[in-house]
Symmetry: C2
């Protein structure tokens, strides 16, 4: 027997329709590429998104065609989020930090029909447009009078000229909520990038669960600064969650330095900001150098990589800002866990709370997790047993775009490639990447633990721990170290530094000093490259 409830598809257009009607005067403030501050409301966002949808329709774009963006966080990018997906096309956000050749490869793989870009990225477009035959139209996200006359790019229009003349009289189409809404390529540390293809249903459910008090806690009382980029995994879904809840949105544009971010937080009374640790490091540096305080900032969610404890303490103790760890992946839309406390933790001491806060957090409703050993058997949630982390849920991918990478689910579970522990309260902690964990004598050594100890040494700027083949132990760890400029440390000093900080058998067999540690487009260490660079290396006891 069917229920007798109204059935409406869960569509991205329903978010902007709701915001326009119920939060019409809610503010959206953007620092533009031009440097000035632009401000308007959800009502205007709705109108301009419909104009954009009309422009796409006039362009002859059919449902499911890809519209690419190379853009900072700002109101025009937000209009693309709603106008493109709402009209039935697929929003394809591209990471401008990738190498132009890789960007061209991705555009061709996705068969993008339209490319919309901030003027910051004109040099990339100039470099690659001849290699992108599927792109029928290039749209520069600027006013008509800012369009360069001599770009050499055929089919180039300004965004404002292209969509400005439309009426905005447009009804968002209704369609199957399982249709694709947007896509994002992974950074692809091994092999070619692969794309996650999000659906309208997954995006709306992600926004709902992601707005819960135990996740990002989004409400009409918040002023939200997404420093996390809209070009990567939809800025953690904040552009959708904000419209769903009527939160004020504040976009930093390209200015992510400490001074610019601080000024925006203060002038727009930001209560909640989200970003990766490196941006917050710049912000803290600026504040400490200028003895500044926050007037309104209350919370920050930090993800992308683990947040150093010192940063959590600084935000909390010095500035009174709550820091929440979050963890997710491109393949997870991205939210998996957020580290909010439970009722039972409230009475704990600050030290005990900090132990909880250092974990990546607990699953939000809609995501399930499990850890398994090498045989695929589920491991207990005891906070100690480390195993391969698998996830399942409404906004977790089932396969990559065009089947790249093959059938990857294990009995319905997506293998994250991370190694983690989960404690009895459901708090997950990443201990390593599956491919980086060192298997020595039947036990696992966390490369991250070994790196963290090295990086606590005052002379070490960066450290990368990798496993080297060993006939007896299977693998043994060594650590590659980049010294701080002008600082010195010897191999023997550093190995001695490990004493007492970890089990004896986990201490690396060797230290290799390097001039650079290879980093990928998103700032992550590329250990595969490091391994290749050390192809001729031989462990001390095998020499």
């Amino acid at each position: 027997m069917l229920g007798l409830m109204q059935h409406q598809p869960l569509l991205i257009s329903s978010l902007i329709e709701f915001a326009e009607r119920h939060h019409g005067e809610g503010e959206i403030v953007s620092r533009r590429v031009e440097g000035d501050i632009h401000r308007y409301t959800y009502k205007e966002l709705g109108l301009r998104s419909r104009k954009l949808a009309q422009a796409l329709s006039a362009q002859g774009l059919a449902q499911g065609e890809r519209v690419a963006t190379l853009a900072w966080n700002g109101y025009r990018h937000l209009e693309l989020y709603y106008g493109v997906s709402g009209s039935g096309c697929i929003l394809h956000t591209l990471n401008p930090r990738l190498h132009p050749e890789q960007i061209a490869w991705i555009i061709n793989h996705a068969s993008d029909a339209v490319m919309c870009f901030d003027m910051s990225f004109l040099p990339i477009i100039k470099a690659i447009h001849t290699q992108c035959p599927t792109v029928k139209l290039y749209v520069a996200l600027c006013d008509a009078d800012k369009l360069p006359a001599d770009s050499g790019i055929p089919n180039l229009v300004s965004y404002e000229a292209w969509m400005g003349g439309r009426t905005g009289v447009y009804t968002w189409p209704a369609f199957d909520e399982n249709l694709a809404s947007s896509m994002c390529y992974t950074s692809g540390t091994t092999g070619n990038p692969k794309a996650a293809l999000y659906s309208h249903r997954s995006t709306v459910l992600h926004a709902l669960a992601g707005s819960l008090p135990d996740a990002l806690n989004m409400s009409a009382r918040e002023s939200v600064l997404p420093v996390v980029p809209m070009f990567h995994v939809n800025a953690w879904g904040l552009p959708y969650a904000a419209a769903m809840t009527g939160a004020k949105l504040v976009f930093p544009g390209p200015a992510m330095d400490g001074k610019s971010v601080y000024e925006l937080i203060e002038s727009e009374k930001v209560s909640f900001a989200a970003g990766v640790p490196t941006v917050w490091q710049m912000l803290l540096g600026h504040m400490q150098a200028n003895t500044l305080r926050f007037s309104t900032l209350k919370r920050t969610v930090i993800g992308g990589s683990a947040c150093p404890p010192a940063m959590i303490t600084a935000f909390n103790d010095i500035y009174g800002v709550e820091v929440l760890h979050a963890w997710g992946m491109t393949e997870m839309s991205p939210l998996g866990t957020v580290c909010t406390l439970k009722n039972k933790h409230l009475a704990m001491s600050p030290e005990e709370k900090m132990k909880v806060r250092l974990k990546q957090g607990r699953g939000i409703f809609g995501v399930d997790m499990k850890i398994v050993n090498g045989m695929g058997d589920e491991l207990p949630w005891d906070g100690n047993s480390a195993g391969d982390l698998l996830v399942k849920g409404h906004w977790i991918l089932s396969e990559y775009f065009q089947g790249e990478g093959g059938g990857l689910l294990a009995d319905g579970w997506f293998p994250t490639g991370d190694v983690a522990t989960i404690d009895a309260d459901g708090y997950m902690q990443i201990t390593d990447r599956s491919k980086d964990v060192i298997k020595s004598g039947g036990e696992w050594i966390s490369s991250i633990d070994i790196e963290n100890i090295a990086m606590a040494h005052p002379a070490v700027a960066m450290a990368a721990c990798i496993g080297m083949k060993h006939p007896k132990w299977d693998e043994r760890p060594i650590v590659a170290v980049l010294k701080k400029p002008g600082m010195e440390v010897t191999r023997e000093d550093l190995l001695a530094f490990y004493e007492g900080k970890t089990a004896k058998w986990q201490i690396p067999d060797d230290v290799v000093f390097v001039d650079a540690i290879p980093l990928g487009g998103t700032g992550k260490m590329q250990k595969s490259k490091l391994r290749a660079e050390l192809a001729d290396y031989v462990l001390p006891d095998l020499r």
Copy 2:
């Protein structure tokens, strides 16, 4: 092109599965019918819900069959919420405050196959069981040794004996999320009661949106007391939202007096309570009489009927408890609006905030509203234009069970039967019931406004304003008044009391003193009965 996300149905069983896994140690505390306090965890709730599902299966119940409950708020009722719906049967919660004949009528209309009841309601079952041929099994929600030997009810078992022996080894079935999960009959002030039939999808979406910070703000840090009954519209969805978020649940059982509720709030460190104004009136009375304070209560959501401003002020100013108005209907699962403030209100004075707080609130994502005039044209959101309120959304009914009442949607919108205004910020305020509003000379007079003025008179206990047919004005208002015991007021006094409090043309034409004003099963005034009682009444200027 379809998205490539995992597809899982939105099922009620996914809520309890999540809670068991991620909030296994979360507490559920119940004051039992027996008077003692029972406590266990989500893990035990999950286990016992599965045992219950096994018992239903052993009973031969097929998907879609109805299992009725006549029960207070408590852990066994909660197990029925999950075990019945999770197994694919339909949970039918019955209101024990209805007349036994009406309960029997509803059981037959719903064709209930099983009836589960708290021992408080044994007299009702004794009175009606011979009239309910569809009921194959009666389950008393008690231990085996508490079952009366001589009840005279065939097929009577105790709940604990019935489900206690099962193993709990049971996998929740997967099925279409649009299947019916539960049902609730309206109080039916006119005609026979009609039922809303909720689906798994509507229930889970309602729990998600209802848990948002701008709705009920549910998290794992809350201790939640639903005083609002589980026998009516699923206790506003709190049993589902609590499992979704891991909130501690505290159930009052049958003891809703001020003393019992206060003691439970204090002993279980309740942070959030939800109920109707009459319960809070009893609680405040008890606290004032005993000069008590709250240690942990921070928020209360009040719905069911408008909350008197004095109560909001008392909670806020004296006890530091935030009062949120909410509005909904059985046909809406029930949440429609919650009166949480927006960013723009935060800097307002307490008086200005109070003006906002007196409204029923703004729509949560998933619900849209509009107000229309007699021609069906949409009226502006200006806070003044009053019109018939229509709603649309994921958890709003499309038709009643078995098509009762016919096709009732107007172009996809459900007519609520309320008259309301909506202001520019989306805050809705009910001004009257559509059938009670008085249409006089082309203008509408709110019967509620007229009643509120009368009830501000010290001698008036209750007042009901109804419209009387008039050849020139169409209708003219009169007010029926029940005087407080031992107090006096004349017709002329009361009409003079209206001067300056409302427009002259809105002052009632007459005052009729009555010995009683008819009330329905949920405590609402039954104006249709009053109209019938005053069938022979003639307006003064027509005599």
